[in-house]
Symmetry: C2
Subunit: 258 residues, 2 copies
């Protein structure tokens, strides 16, 4: 199924490698008449667009509002009404930290048909690069995705009301480069100092970089380049994992209540 005319496809570009686009996103990109993309979508994905397609960056990097959200909405609506097939391309998944509400509401309000194509979000690409599980039967049954607060207060605010649950993996999107502040926020949210903590830059691409540390030692590390994501939690400590045979023997030895 190629991109249909008069329709907007709100599409996830995934973490940045064309190989991690979904098959559907790949097909839509190679057939769409117009592609409106965020700054974080790399050139090697945009190279997939038709040579005669209208490809426009509508990014709002670092808050510089070269293109307003209202202008983006108008571009999408006008292009679809002009009979074009339109891909609105966002890094990762288009419904997570992507201001989808405004665009969905504007399209619905204008009566423009819209389809959403999910994508691989950064946390999954980061965990794949690190080769660590995000959940684990013995240590983490919950995954919490959040963003770091932008605040200039002397004491950084906690990431969370109350304490973060100890049996969760935490993923912080857009963590910024002030690791000392981030460390303070994590400790203020109840994470133990020795909790495993990892940062991945450019996850899921050939330029991926990562660091593995603990919450206690995070503040002393040099920051990795953006875009990056921070993971913390005991599921990441793969020393805990045992081959199934050894685990079974251990559980047997511990008896039926273990």
């Amino acid at each position: 199924m190629s991109a249909s005319r008069g329709k907007v496809y709100l599409t996830g570009a995934g973490p940045g490698d064309p190989d991690l686009l979904t098959v559907r996103a790949h097909r839509l990109l190679t057939t769409a008449d117009a592609v409106f993309h965020d700054d974080l979508v790399p050139p090697r994905i945009l190279e997939l667009c038709r040579p005669d397609a209208r490809v426009v960056s509508v990014g709002k990097r670092c808050g510089s509002k070269s293109v307003t959200q209202e202008q983006i909405n108008d571009l999408l609506i006008e292009s679809a009404r002009a009979g074009l097939s339109v891909v609105r391309l966002k890094s990762g998944d288009p419904l997570l930290y992507a201001r989808a509400s405004e665009e969905l509401a504007a399209l619905a309000h204008a009566g423009v048909p819209c389809e959403i194509v999910p994508g691989v979000s950064a946390v999954f690409a980061a965990a794949a690069d690190l080769q660590v599980p995000l959940t684990d039967r013995s240590s983490a049954s919950t995954l919490i995705l959040l963003t770091a607060h932008r605040s200039s207060a002397a004491t950084p605010p906690p990431l969370w009301q109350g304490d973060l649950p100890s049996d969760a993996t935490i993923a912080i999107y857009m963590p910024g480069s002030d690791y000392r502040r981030l460390q303070q926020s994590l400790l203020a949210s109840g994470l133990l100092p020795d909790t495993p903590c990892m940062v991945v830059s450019r996850a899921g691409t050939h330029e991926t970089l990562s660091l593995r540390t603990t919450v206690a030692a995070l503040g002393d590390r040099d920051p990795l380049p953006a875009p990056s994501i921070l993971l913390a939690g005991w599921a990441l400590d793969t020393r805990n994992a045992l081959p199934a045979g050894e685990l079974a023997s251990l559980l047997d030895a511990l008896g039926p209540d273990a």
Copy 2:
């Protein structure tokens, strides 16, 4: 890059539609010598495998341990050591609720090279089907993925220690079919009765079904078929979203502190 011999690819199959595989997963599936898959991976994805590939279900549906985890580990290790290119295919993303720890540890212990290929997890396919955002600037900056507890106690345990944060979207994987119990758990975890609540069955496939309700009314609804996922939170209430122009006017009218 085709599947390499003597290597295991821990691969996400995504939500179930071959179109929502990543390009890399699609290529690996069509070139691998052996594919070991879970029950939830549908036939139309397995049809992509080479006609002469060894395709084996190693599912553990409903706890019936036809194949133990130890046997799966041994199959992966033996196949890679025999020089085969091996895809270990799991529904969704392979590092979330997929018992990846044990397989990664066994492969590392055996010295078998392993690569992880992320996939689109069910929550993103469900939100795409529903056309609702998972986060929203005004109502939800956090996404929490968890699973429903299996407990036969008369009063279902809360999903969470303490109250769930009110500015989060909650996604419950494998919610089960007892919606009255689920409703009790959600209320016991501090969700307000009128919180929007949606269930999607077979998200991201042509057979997708969904229901839109509130936590208060969830218990009266007929359960949707498995596999399903439950979402709850105020970001799902798209009535809150306004076209950007109207939102800007509203914020202007409310003054600089809004």
